[in-house]
């Protein structure tokens, strides 16, 4: 679905590459999380997938990026936007109209979609994003979480195969963030949408993503199944990444010789770990 080979990219007004020799293949139907400190190149990587780089943000581009079989150098953002939906960090600057349904219609209008088809897609995408009840609402009066859902609905109205999200929950409370993730999981399971998401909330991400990619300084430094990646707790701490606290606990325990087994990645596994340790002591 996404094939990135030996990608190196340097912004025009910059003195060093933002991405260095990236190789990344994402399968259809995947749910991939990207984490890393700020400045690591996470946003730039998402821009490479939706074609913003190199078409809107320009620079030196080496290597190749193919999305749904389309080379992003030969195909502009417009062509790609039928295949890749994009959601960004700040919901405020993604909304350009004053009524929710108009906002979703906006993208469809740009593609000259006939009226009946638009009607159908608007209803469908509102439903998929769980906001059918907001259809006629004023966009200015929505909460941050609702605005972010509108942005998601807007992206999926074009029926993309891939949805790329760049820190979509940064302004939301824990519950708001969790419910965005549940919506994404549903899109992934029920509609087979391929999801690529950049996120700082590692604990939430690890609950939903199948695969986890860790970036630092323009490179991919860890890539694998979520649970496998999380087990590298020392590496994560060294990179300054917020690893789940149960991982941190297991790290402390094994360092002091209290635990030798596999590193737990969620509360249930940690429970087994702690009960084992305590039982062994008795």
């Amino acid at each position: 679905m996404i094939e990135i080979d030996n990608l190196t990219f340097q912004y025009n007004n910059s003195d060093r590459p933002a991405l260095k020799d990236i190789c990344l293949h994402v399968e259809k139907g995947g749910f991939t999380g990207i984490i890393g400190p700020s400045g690591a190149g996470k946003s730039t990587l998402t821009y490479c997938i939706n074609g913003v780089v190199p078409h809107y943000l320009t620079g030196d581009f080496y290597g190749s990026v193919r999305v749904c079989g389309l080379d992003t150098v030969d195909n502009g953002c417009m062509v790609l936007s039928r295949h890749v939906g994009s959601v960004f960090q700040d919901p405020e600057s993604q909304i350009v109209t004053s009524v929710v349904e108009d906002e979703i219609a906006f993208g469809l209008e740009n593609f000259n979609t006939p009226y009946d088809e638009m009607e159908k897609r608007i209803t469908e995408s509102l439903e998929m994003a769980d906001i059918s009840h907001l259809r006629h609402r004023d966009t200015a009066g929505l909460s941050g979480g609702q605005k972010q859902r509108v942005a998601i609905a807007t992206a999926i109205a074009l029926r993309p195969e891939v949805l790329v999200l760049d820190e979509p929950t940064s302004e939301l409370d824990p519950e708001g963030s969790a419910s965005i993730f549940e919506t994404l999981s549903r899109l992934n399971h029920e509609y087979g949408m391929t999801i690529v998401i950049v996120e700082q909330k590692v604990m939430l991400l690890s609950k939903h993503s199948k695969r986890l990619i860790v970036m630092q300084d323009g490179r991919i430094v860890l890539d694998g199944m979520t649970r496998e990646v999380l087990r590298h707790s020392e590496k994560l701490v060294e990179l300054g990444i917020n690893c789940p606290r149960v991982v941190e606990l297991a790290g402390k325990l094994s360092k002091n010789g209290l635990y030798q087994g596999d590193c737990p990645t969620d509360v249930d596994e940690a429970y087994t770990m702690v009960t084992d340790i305590l039982r062994r002591q008795k």
Binding site: V52, H55, F88, S98, A105, F106, N112
Partner: protein, 251 residues
């Protein structure tokens, strides 16, 4: 203040009128108020605006707009009193006198300002920006790029006023005394605060451009979701608009 130039959701007769009808009304009312030399006519126009706001169900929002116009009108009022020197002196304060002609002129100018601006503001409150831009593009053949700029600008007004509130509060909170009583001091205190507003606006606009890029903006031929046609109500309203224009010029 926030709703000065933003759409207010509703289902009233005025909401349902064709955007061009409302635009025609705004332009005609504005021209009529300026062309007319009759105080009663201009006063009637202001009252008409208030009635429209009441029957359109947006009175409480319109009230804050009225407050804003009130301030503008008051400033003009004072200026007129100061500058018109002919006529009989009514009040005299030291070397400073207020004449009856000055008062009348001041009253007229402030009323005329409200009468000519209020219809425009009402039109915006009754019309979703997308409907307006669609009408301009479809009926008047204004290129979509231009109408989009206008609609996007209107859409961002509440964002910017909110942002300005935050900025001013942030400065007061670190001891910048712009919460005092002196309005002149307050104004010059707030002035430099346009820098953070500018910076965050540039960031926003940059981000918005990227978002537009990924949504097929500027591809060429577009379809329109909310295509409106002229209905009976529009023709009645347009006839009324023509009447106002004629009256304004005649009186």
């Amino acid at each position: 203040m926030k709703s000065l130039l933003t759409y207010v959701n509703g289902e009233s007769f005025f909401h349902r009128l064709h955007p061009l009808t409302k635009l025609a009304w705004a332009v005609a009312a504005c021209v009529a108020c300026f062309a007319s030399g009759s105080l009663p006519f201009v006063a009637a126009m202001v009252i008409l605006c208030i009635l429209i706001a009441v029957f359109g169900g947006i009175f409480s929002e319109a009230l804050s707009v009225l407050k804003f116009f009130g301030v503008v009108a008051a400033i003009l009022f004072v200026l007129q009193i100061v500058f018109v020197r002919s006529g009989i002196v009514v009040i005299s304060l030291g070397g400073f006198s207020v004449t009856d002609e000055g008062l009348l002129a001041a009253f007229f100018v402030s009323l005329r300002t409200v009468g000519s601006l209020a219809p425009l503001s009402l039109m915006i409150m009754f019309t979703p920006t997308t409907a307006l831009s669609a009408a301009l593009t479809d009926n008047l053949r204004v290129p979509y790029k231009y109408t989009f700029i206008v609609t996007a600008a209107l859409r961002f007004i509440p964002t910017f006023t909110d942002e300005m509130d935050h900025i001013v509060q942030a400065q007061i909170s670190r001891g910048h005394a712009i919460d005092g009583k002196n309005p002149v001091k307050r104004f010059f205190g707030i002035l430099p605060m346009s820098i953070p507003l500018l910076v965050s606006s540039v960031r926003r606009i940059d981000q918005m451009a990227i978002s537009l890029e990924t949504r097929g903006f500027g591809l060429g031929v577009r379809s329109t979701y909310k295509k409106q046609s002229f209905k009976a109500g529009d023709f009645i309203a347009l006839a009324f608009v023509a009447l106002i224009l004629v009256l304004g010029i005649a009186l």
